[in-house]
Symmetry: C2
Subunit: 203 residues, 2 copies
């Protein structure tokens, strides 16, 4: 279990909270994007980005010139969130409508990884997260490409997960209200691949 | 168009950026969750939450005791992000793998809405975002329920959208590399509704 700290103590609905590192890892692995936040001149700045996991670290990458990468490499305090929406929870009362979700919030400072071999191993893990088995088929990165990419790692040390699941919870006196109640599942689905050359240009 | 400010000027890949309020509204409307960030004792805190839109404002709600709601009501500087992942971009080179996405980043301070009629109108809009036509069928909120819920609005005034779409962009010399390249579409799908009473308890 991750240790609970002042900023990861659950104040609202603690029954939904967890410090289980396996649950945190599973949510991070399933989420295709996350948000990384830092403080710039006293104000919050949040950037949606891609992340992936290797053991007990979350990895991020970006161009050497990116504002987020520079802040992370400079040791900025970070907050990282990843969220999976699992369902719309439709109650009998407007008040008890909700969503089923699994989310992770992590705090800490990232470390830059500069060793070329370690960097290549990290990019193997990124491509394998997208499509298992693909890395061995693609043109591997050159030294120049590895150098052009900044790689950062945040230890999964301070953070928590939060999960809501299951049906709506209506008040007893509303149970006979004449409306359908239940959950509409929400899932992320990968569709039929579209081969290169059949679409229009990228933006 | 939203005005570009110091913190919304695109530094990386400006061709992907936009200040178009219709694009920003469309992304906010499609996204089922967002992340709201603020600064607490000099450090960033980000909370995944539900949002919805009414005109040129994004709305948020929470219990009166929630940390996020208190910070927002106190006028904390906020950064709100919402992200839709649209596809895995599989290039011939490891380096040019990417994702197609649409994201929004907004900055500003929220205002609390306390007028009961305005609050009820906002919750109508929230339920209608989940399932159009549902609000008129459910048990409407009581005065007590409206009072127990804090409602906050952030003007869509300072912010931007960022979009990547289309196929991978490989280097010319990699175009004959013997690997499939293209896009795997990623979509969010609503499944078959599960009626209340057929599942296990909520958490």
């Amino acid at each position: 279990m991750l240790a609970s700290t002042e900023r990861t103590t659950f104040r609202q609905r603690p029954q939904r909270g967890s410090y289980d590192p396996r649950l945190i890892a599973a949510i991070l692995d399933e989420a295709l994007s996350c948000t990384v936040s830092f403080v710039d001149e006293g104000r919050p700045v949040s950037i949606p980005t891609t992340h992936w996991r290797m053991g007990d670290r979350v990895l991020f990458h970006g161009g050497q010139g990116s504002r987020l990468g520079k802040a992370m490499a400079a040791g900025a305090e970070l907050c990282v969130t990843a969220t999976l929406v699992d369902g719309l929870v439709l109650a009998r009362s407007a008040f008890h409508h909700s969503m089923n979700y699994r989310s992770v919030v992590l705090f800490g400072q990232a470390e830059e990884i500069t060793d070329p071999a370690e960097k290549e191993a990290a990019f193997v893990a990124l491509i394998e997260k997208l499509i298992p088995g693909r890395y061995s088929q693609v043109r591997p990165p050159t030294q120049k490409e590895l150098a052009a990419t900044r790689l950062l790692a945040l230890a999964i040390a301070e953070g928590s997960a939060k999960v809501r699941s299951g049906p709506p919870v209506d008040d007893e006196e509303d149970m006979s209200w004449p409306v359908w109640a239940g959950v509409v599942p929400v899932t992320v689905v990968k569709g039929e691949p579209i081969a290169d050359g059949t679409g229009s240009g990228a933006s």
